[in-house]
C-alpha cells in the first residue's frame, strides 16, 4: 500500500468539523493544518489554545468534549523546541482531531486546559514532570512520576537514556 501524500491546504480540509468550527470562530486561529494518514492536525498559537479547546468542546454539531490525550514532543536541537499535543475526541460523532502548539525553549510556558477539561490535570503534570513545560493556571503543578526532589526532565532529548546524569 502506498501512502497518500499529506494534505496541507487549509481550503481542502474545511469540511472537517473541528477546522470548520475554529475558522468560524476566528479565521486567524488555525496557523497551519496537515491531513496525514487519516488524521487531522491543526497548529494553533499558544495564546489561543485554551479558548480554542473551549470552543471545540462546546461546538454545537460536533462537540469535541473528550480529551483523549495530552503529551509533548521535544524537537531538540531545532527551534521551536517543544510541541504540546492535544488529542480530542467527540463522543457523539467519534471524530478525532489533534491540536498542536509550538513552544520556544526560552519560555516553555502554556496556559493550562484544566479549566476546560478537569481530566487534563494528570496529563499536564506528566508533561511538566518529564519535559519541564509549565502550565499556568494548573491547580497542582507538581511532579507526578519522578520523586519531588528529582533534577532534570527525563524525556527531554538532551537527557541521557542510560548512565549517570
Amino acid at each position: 500500500m502506498v501512502l497518500a501524500p499529506p494534505i496541507t491546504n487549509i481550503e481542502e480540509l474545511k469540511a472537517h468539523p473541528a477546522l470548520a468550527r475554529l475558522l468560524e470562530w476566528d479565521q486567524s486561529v488555525p496557523k497551519s493544518v496537515k491531513f496525514d494518514r487519516d488524521e487531522l492536525t491543526i497548529w494553533v498559537e499558544k495564546e489561543t489554545i485554551r479558548e480554542a479547546c473551549a470552543i471545540l468542546r462546546d461546538s454545537p454539531d460536533c462537540p469535541f468534549n473528550y480529551l483523549a490525550d495530552l503529551t509533548c514532543v521535544d524537537w531538540y536541537p531545532s527551534q521551536p523546541r517543544f510541541e504540546v499535543i492535544y488529542h480530542l475526541l467527540s463522543i457523539a460523532t467519534k471524530e478525532r482531531v489533534r491540536l498542536k502548539v509550538r513552544l520556544d525553549v526560552s519560555s516553555p510556558v502554556i496556559e493550562s486546559v484544566t479549566s476546560v477539561w478537569p481530566s487534563a490535570n494528570f496529563y499536564e503534570r506528566e508533561v511538566f514532570d518529564l519535559f519541564g513545560v509549565r502550565f499556568t493556571g494548573h491547580p497542582n503543578l507538581k511532579r507526578i512520576m519522578m520523586p519531588d526532589d528529582w533534577e532534570g526532565h527525563p524525556l527531554r532529548k538532551d537527557y541521557p537514556v542510560e548512565g549517570y546524569r
Binding site: D36, I91, K94
Partner: protein, 404 residues
C-alpha cells in the same frame, strides 16, 4: 454545553483541619492492586478528599523506546499493562503499521481478534476475582483463576509464554498457531459461558455483594466525560462508546457483538458491564473460530517482516533481509499517528512520532488506567473508607499502565 463540569478535583491535602484527619492508604495495601498510594482526608468514616500518589512503578518505558528499533519495542509494550499484554502489542503494531502503510493478511487479523478477546477475558477474570475478594467473596477468586489458567495455557501454546507473550509483530504474527490450538480454544469457548453463570450465581444476586456495590461510588455521565473516564467505567455511567464498534480496527467490523451500557454509574453497574463483556467476548471468540480464513500470517513486506526460517536456509535474499532487519532495523516514513484501541480497561492509545529513521522519535502511551484513576477522587467524595476499596476495584487499575 453550559453545564459541562469544570470544577477541578485536586484538593491539596497537606494537613488535617480541626474536624478531619489525614489517612495514608498504600502503597503496600492489598486492595490497591499494586503500588497505588492514596492520601485520604477523612471526617470520621467519611472521605472528604482523596489524592492518588503514583509513580512507584515508573520505569521510563517511553524513554527506553526512543533508544530501540521499532521491532524491539514490542516486548516493552507487554510490560505496560501486564494483564492484557496482547492488547498493548496490538495497539503498538497497528500504530507502526499505520505509519508504514502496511496491509495485514486476513488470517493474521482474525487471529489478532481471537487472541485479543481471550486477553480481554483473561484480564476481566483477574479483575472479577480480585474485586470480589476485596469485597469479601473468596470463592469467586478461585473460580476465576481456574479459568484464567486455561487461557494462560492457550497463550503458552501459541507464543511460548504465559504472560509476556509478544505474539503480535509488526506486519502480522510471530508464529503460526500450533496443531490442535483451535480445538483447545473451541473446547474452552464452549465451556466458558457456564463458568460465567457460576460467577454470576455467586455475586449478581448476592445481598452482601449488592449492599457493597449498589449506589456506591457514583459517577455521573457528565463527570465521567469531564474527568476522562474510559472503557467500562464510562459505559457504566451511560455513555455508549466502544472503539471496536465505533472505529473498527484489525477486522472488528466483521464481528457481531453488543456493547453493554448501564446508566446507574455505580460500582454494580460497572460490574454488570464487565460481566456482560465476558459473554460478548466469548461470542467473538466463537465467531473468530468459525470464520478463521486460511492464508499467510505475515504481510508480504520483506524489508519489515522477518523471513521464514526455512527460506533463510535456502534463499540468499531472505538471509540478507534477516541480517539487515536484525542489525539495522527498518526505516519508517516520517510522520505521526495516534492509534487508539479498546483495551479491557478502555481507550489504549499509542502516539508514535517517526523522523524517518529506524528508531521511533517519540512513543507515548495513553493508558486507560491513568485516565480512569482521575475519576477516583470524584467517586469517593462523601463515601465511607470501606467503599474506597470497592471504587478502586471497580475502575480496574493496573499500576504498570499508570506509571509506565
Amino acid at each position: 454545553m453550559a453545564d459541562f463540569p469544570t470544577a477541578v478535583v485536586d484538593r491539596a491535602i497537606d494537613r488535617a483541619t480541626d474536624n478531619t484527619m489525614v489517612l495514608n492508604m498504600g502503597p503496600q495495601h492489598p486492595s490497591t492492586h499494586g503500588v497505588l498510594r492514596l492520601v485520604l482526608e477523612i471526617d470520621g468514616e467519611t472521605v472528604i478528599g482523596l489524592k492518588p500518589e503514583i509513580g512507584y512503578l515508573h520505569t521510563g518505558i517511553e524513554k527506553t523506546c526512543e533508544a530501540k528499533f521499532y521491532q524491539q519495542v514490542v516486548p516493552l509494550t507487554d510490560r505496560i499493562d501486564y494483564l492484557c499484554p496482547m492488547t498493548n502489542n496490538l495497539a503498538y503494531c497497528l500504530a507502526v503499521e499505520k505509519l508504514l502503510g502496511l496491509e495485514i493478511p486476513p488470517k493474521a487479523q482474525w487471529m489478532r481478534v481471537l487472541m485479543n478477546e481471550l486477553t480481554r477475558i483473561n484480564s476481566h477474570l483477574v479483575w472479577l476475582g480480585t474485586h470480589a475478594m476485596d469485597l469479601g467473596a473468596m470463592t469467586v477468586f478461585l473460580y476465576c483463576f481456574r479459568e484464567r489458567e486455561d487461557i494462560l495455557r492457550l497463550f503458552e501454546m501459541v507464543s511460548g509464554q504465559r504472560m509476556m507473550t509478544s505474539y503480535f509483530r509488526i506486519g502480522g504474527l510471530a508464529l503460526e498457531p500450533p496443531l490442535r490450538f483451535f480445538e483447545k480454544v473451541k473446547k474452552f469457548a464452549d465451556r466458558f459461558p457456564g463458568n460465567v453463570d457460576e460467577y454470576e450465581n455467586l455475586l449478581t444476586g448476592n445481598p452482601i455483594f449488592m449492599m457493597r456495590t449498589k449506589g456506591v461510588a457514583h459517577l455521573s455521565a457528565e463527570n465521567a466525560i469531564a474527568m476522562g473516564a474510559c472503557g467500562p467505567t464510562l459505559r457504566g455511567s451511560g455513555i455508549d462508546i466502544d472503539l471496536r464498534r465505533d472505529a473498527p480496527y484489525t477486522g472488528y467490523e466483521n464481528f457481531k457483538f453488543n456493547v453493554p451500557v448501564r446508566t446507574e454509574g455505580d460500582v454494580f453497574a460497572r460490574y454488570l458491564c464487565r460481566v456482560q463483556e465476558l459473554r460478548e467476548s466469548i461470542g467473538m471468540v466463537q465467531q473468530a473460530l468459525a470464520g478463521m480464513p486460511e492464508g499467510p500470517i505475515k504481510a508480504d513486506s520483506p524489508k519489515v517482516v522477518l523471513p521464514d526460517r526455512e527460506k533463510m536456509k535456502t534463499q540468499m535474499e531472505a538471509l540478507i533481509y534477516h541480517f539487515k532487519i536484525i542489525t539495522e532495523g527498518f526505516t519508517v516514513p516520517a510522520g505521526e499517528v495516534y492509534q487508539a484501541i479498546e483495551s479491557p480497561r478502555g481507550e489504549m492509545g499509542y502516539y508514535i512520532v517517526s523522523d524517518g529513521t529506524a528508531k521511533p522519535y517519540r512513543v507515548h502511551m495513553r493508558g486507560p488506567s491513568y485516565a480512569n484513576l482521575q475519576t477516583l477522587a470524584k467517586m469517593c467524595e462523601g463515601q465511607l473508607i470501606a467503599d474506597v476499596v470497592a471504587a478502586i476495584g471497580s475502575i480496574d487499575v493496573v499500576l504498570g499502565d499508570i506509571d509506565r
